[in-house]
């Protein structure tokens, strides 16, 4: 008998999951301490993609840093652009035109749809439902086509700029957006049939990675993952920026705080984003899409070749940038993954003295240990997907 016990007894092992692993969404390295298949402790080891973005920012003019923000959360670059330019505008004390605000709302919500679609698709792929990834990519493609129409780029957009946006919306863009709003609801119903009515999918997510509201707040979880635990907190509603207070939309909240709830939050949020876009497109006012301050917004390119003053303004903008008054500000937006905050310390020059990015993925990843403790190895995959980490953002 004693011999038999020796054979079946298990010992604690440490398993390295990642950094090269197909379901870690990038370069996440998890150190899993396991007893058999059960997780005793999950310790994320991050930093494989660290590029020193904050140090780079200290050496750049304010307007030169916008493209770097695209490379943070590259799945929804508009939100990053928005967080950054809004922070700089707050530091300057700049009020942007109405039309630019509406365009920004549309851009940010489109990017939320793109981000959530990929999050849901990749999550389904990780749990073995590959067709959903292909469906989600098909719909994401429509959104990326709209981005291409708006600014010529698909992933690294740099569309927003301090003082407004880079290009105006035209009729064709509005038409494409309306087309998307017509197509998407039917496609979302397809997902619902394939996933939410799927027993395997539900069993792999329901009751997995449960976190209570109290623990989630204590661990600084934010975004859809926090709302899945029943905390009704969305910066768009509670500290409205741009023109979000003029739109009618709901904040979905979950009850159980498990992976299934976190999935549902994203699913519902796509629908709410569509509602916002619909209203914003309908109310889109006419007028300028940039502030009329030559130091902050350079003149339109064709004018630079014809007009001497415009050429001077363009040259001054590119070579010297603009000054930001001395002081420090923190500005946060509701990015698809949670609270995306930018803290700027300005010493009154053209470059930030210190720029800190409060990135949601980095903070949210802290909860992995809490969620996976006592669960099985296969659940860790669902838990990682439910946090939707993007490592360009996490590692900065």
């Amino acid at each position: 008998m004693a011999e038999l016990e020796n054979i079946i007894s298990t010992r604690e092992i440490t398993l390295h999951m990642g950094p090269q692993h197909p379901s870690t969404h990038g370069v996440l390295h998890l150190l899993l301490e396991m007893q058999g298949e059960m997780i005793l402790k999950a310790e994320p080891d991050i930093g494989y993609l660290h590029r020193g973005t904050e140090k780079i920012a200290e050496g750049l003019l304010y307007h030169q840093f916008t493209p770097y923000t695209d490379r943070l959360d590259y799945m929804c670059a508009m939100s990053n652009n928005l967080a950054y330019v809004m922070a700089v505008e707050k530091a300057i004390g700049l009020e942007i035109p109405e039309r630019a605000k509406y365009i920004r709302v549309i851009a940010a919500e489109l990017s939320r749809i793109a981000g959530h679609l990929l999050a849901m698709g990749a999550w389904a792929l990780d749990l073995g439902a590959m067709s959903i990834l292909l469906y989600a990519m098909r719909e994401r493609e429509i959104v990326l086509d709209i981005f291409e129409q708006i600014c010529g780029a698909r992933m690294t957009l740099s569309y927003l700029r301090v003082g407004g946006v880079r290009y105006d919306f035209n009729k064709e863009i509005v038409e494409s957006i309306n087309e998307l709003l017509e197509i998407l609801p039917g496609r979302l119903d397809e997902y619902e049939t394939v996933l939410i009515g799927n027993r395997v999918w539900i069993q792999r997510n329901e009751g997995v990675g449960v976190i209570s509201a109290e623990d989630a707040i204590n661990l600084s979880l934010s975004g859809p993952a926090l709302r899945a635990s029943g905390v009704k907190w969305d910066i768009r509603k509670d500290e409205p920026y741009l023109v979000y207070d003029r739109f009618d939309f709901d904040i979905p909240t979950g009850e159980n705080g498990d992976c299934l709830d976190r999935f549902n939050m994203r699913f519902q949020e796509v629908k709410q984003s569509m509602r916002i876009i619909k209203q914003a497109v309908k109310d889109l006012p006419d007028g300028p899409f940039n502030v009329d301050i030559p130091e902050i917004v350079p003149p339109a390119k064709p004018n630079v070749y014809k007009n001497m003053e415009n050429l001077i303004h363009h040259f001054k903008y590119v070579s010297a940038g603009f000054k930001v008054p001395k002081g420090e500000i923190y500005s946060a937006i509701e990015a698809p993954k949670g609270e995306l905050g930018v803290y700027i310390v300005s010493d009154g020059t053209e470059k930030p003295y210190r720029l800190k990015l409060r990135v949601p993925t980095f903070v949210n990843l802290q909860t992995i240990n809490h969620m996976s403790k006592g669960r099985y190895l296969a659940d860790v995959i669902a838990i990682v997907s439910s946090l939707d980490p993007v490592f360009g953002e996490c590692d900065k």
Binding site: S220, Y343, R358, F362, Q366
Partner: protein, 170 residues
């Protein structure tokens, strides 16, 4: 809550409770900042979290800033938010090179990684932190990159031919 009520809670109430521990209070672009003594940090954070009118239950971020030519050299900045009361406050603590600062991880567990990041980038040690080690950089990394005296392109070694030559160590 109207702005006046907000000021009454975020400024007057906090000031009344920690009169001699607050070095200065500023309001810039509608954001309230208290510069406090490091010795009072933990008791003040506990007060901010537990007081029914303040309820700062969400620690958004911990940030380090290097003011190289000033003494004390570093500033650690806490961004706090109240999910129930919907207001933000910023606490700042000045700390010199080589000094430690009390950790707030026992008050908000979410400050864990943020404090590790500050240590990683500035070398500020948080006393009482359960796992004080580097988070982004390799464990054997030399120097603290976000300090102002750390060169933008790093130090020269066999992986980084464009870096700056490191001064001889004494």
């Amino acid at each position: 809550m109207t702005p006046v009520d907000k000021d009454a809670v975020l400024i007057d109430k906090v000031k009344a409770a920690f009169r001699d521990k607050i070095i200065s209070t500023t309001v810039y672009r509608g954001e309230v900042t208290h510069l406090v003594c490091a010795s009072a940090l933990r008791s003040m954070c506990t007060f901010l979290k537990t007081d029914p009118e303040l309820r700062m239950n969400f620690c958004a971020d911990v940030v380090g800033v290097d003011y190289m030519n000033e003494t004390p050299r570093f500033e650690v900045v806490y961004h706090l938010y109240s999910i129930t009361r919907k207001h933000r406050i910023r606490l700042k603590v000045r700390v010199n090179e080589g000094e430690t600062i009390p950790s707030v991880t026992s008050i908000w567990a979410g400050a864990d990684w943020a404090e590790r990041e500050v240590y990683d980038m500035f070398g500020i040690v948080f006393e009482g932190h359960p796992n004080m080690k580097r988070i982004y950089l390799a464990e054997d990394w030399e120097g603290f990159p976000l300090r102002k005296d750390y060169p933008l392109r790093g130090y020269k070694d066999r992986y980084n031919p464009y870096g700056v030559d490191r001064e001889e160590k004494d």
